[in-house]
């Protein structure tokens, strides 16, 4: 019953590491919208493929944008 734990091959590179010119700014809603779901939740790192450093920066940017009403906290479904 002991299945060896498999680590999935990371399919995606962190797109912020690949292109160093993109700045994570809370004002760039077009960029940030790619990283939140329909309901407004932040997409986890294992799905988006970001590295830890950029995921942290992204999270801060999204949270700041939320406080200034550029992004929603939550979107009611249906």
């Amino acid at each position: 019953m002991n299945r060896p734990k498999r680590h999935f091959q990371r399919r995606k590179m962190c797109r912020f590491c690949a292109d160093k010119n993109i700045v994570l700014d809370y004002k760039e809603t077009k960029l940030l919208r790619n990283f939140i779901t329909e309901r407004g939740k932040i997409i986890p790192r294992r799905i988006s493929g970001n590295c830890a450093l950029h995921q942290r920066g992204l999270t801060t940017a999204i949270k700041r944008a939320r406080t200034i009403a550029l992004l929603p906290f939550t979107v009611a479904q249906g």
Binding site: R6, F8, Y26, K27, T29, K30, R33, N34, I36, T37, E38, R39, K41, I43, P44, I47, R64, R66, T67, I68, A69, L70, L71, P72, F73
Partner: protein
Amino acid sequence: MRMYETLMILHPEIADDRIVAVIGRMEGIIEGAGGKITVIDQWGIRKLAYRIAKQPRGYYLLLKYAASPTIINELERTLKLTEECLRFITIKLDEEVEAAVLAEVARVHKKPTAVIEEVEEPPVPEEAFEGEEEELEEKAAEQAKPDKPGVEGEDKP
């Protein structure tokens, strides 16, 4: 002096001269304390992601300035007391900026051209990610099977 930026939301239904008055007040505080404003960007009226003070829209105003850290408290206190201002956020951009470099930077004042409607780009559907997690697990399970026959094939002389 450090570079800061303050983005504030003003009430959407106030007259232009009151907006100018708010900007003037900010200028007074910052430049009165020896700071320098580099950018005043009036984004104009924009749809908010959620209602603030029962309003669905707000007037966004961005200020970038260099100032000493001590005046930030005063600035924020003034903003809280300003009745036109509904919400604000102050962010530190840079650490020390040389005064000589600052003196050369001219002030940029951008005014709004039209009402900005936020273009609704189709957001990423949540189901896609839940599906993807299962896909990843299935892939791992599939990888477990072809490993064995492949290895045996290579061993044959």
